[in-house]
Symmetry: C2
Subunit: 206 residues, 2 copies
């Protein structure tokens, strides 16, 4: 298995499969088929079989997939069979929502520090965290050897903060600022922007 | 131009181009090239030319694209040359963040009503809105002829709420609940789930 050889579009579907399998597992299901999983996530059974077979032979003809086994394999492939420490930068409404989000811990992520530039926020508590001064971002993130950060700052300062995160050693940025980020090769960015997601759907509306 | 003939992957890139062009425009730029736009969004110039040419001849050899013209065309194609009224269901941390989000209005969307099931929230104010009883969701959404909703409820109730939105005539759902939704053909769903976005990146991390 060579990371460079698997198209990113396939990698993007694996977390969807993993989430669906974890939900099936919570409901007590032990096995599934590509057909059933496909109906669940809205992707064809053939596509699912093809995607999963990129990584090995995880299903059995006739009996389908063992859910716990496939969950383990997908967690290993996606490297979430461990816990990743994550920084949050920007403690506005989105930052608050991220700190309060309950869905990270059983999916491989743990927020460990939060930052803001606003003097009225620095030192205050949000959930179990004390908001730290964003001026110390680079030093703190580097010292903690963090590789992942979530960016919830205004678009106007997002590139500057991203640059400092990259300088500190961050390799993956989940960007909530409604703007693109320029990062060096080897640094990954995913964007969450409700307006672009909505616009992708309005295209189809009458 | 036939909506059915353009691959959805291309449609998904148009909002990214539009956002970048709007940001360039805010900075006072009047023209751009596929090369410059490509560098900005991290997509090849050839891909951008190919994507945009699906919809017509919007650029000129040598002089590139007029930014205001291309913005107008993309807004028209994505049907955000109008204002869409949107309902928010679920007024937890994410719902709050959505209500406070400043980035909708100049991109084609306006939140007009918000709902929750929690009696302690119903009737309270969030931003400029009064939280309405989710029991009245179907009637209210149908009466207002809304086509778009944002779903920020727990995963366990997301399908039920989605069913009621569809029943009320909603055709596009932006789903923040970390679960899949089964919807009839002709109803569009986009998912925002920070954990799946992060997992897509950890695959590449060492």
């Amino acid at each position: 298995m060579n990371a460079d050889k698997i198209p990113d579009i396939i990698i993007g579907r694996l977390p969807i499969y993993l989430r669906a399998l974890q939900r099936m597992s919570e409901k007590g299901k032990k096995t599934t088929s590509s057909q059933e999983l496909g109906d669940y996530v809205g992707i064809s059974a053939a596509q699912i079989r093809k995607d999963i077979s990129q990584f090995g032979e995880f299903g059995k003809q006739g009996t389908g997939y063992s859910i716990p086994f496939l969950i383990d394999k997908l967690r290993e492939i996606l490297r979430v069979d461990r816990m990743w420490d994550v920084a949050v930068v920007g403690v506005g409404a989105v930052g608050h929502a991220l700190v309060r989000y309950q869905g990270f811990s059983n999916r491989g992520f743990r927020i460990v520090m939060i930052f803001d530039v606003d003097p009225s926020k620095i030192g205050t508590r949000v959930g179990e965290f004390v908001v730290e001064d964003a001026a110390k971002l680079t030093d703190r993130v580097r010292a903690a050897k963090l590789r992942i950060a979530m960016l919830a700052v205004p678009a106007t300062v997002a590139q500057d903060v991203a640059d400092r995160l990259v300088q500190a050693g961050v390799k993956a940025i989940l960007n909530y600022a409604p703007t693109n980020l320029n990062v060096p090769k080897g640094v990954h960015v995913q964007h969450i922007d409700p307006a672009t997601h909505l616009q992708r759907m309005t295209y189809y509306l009458e």
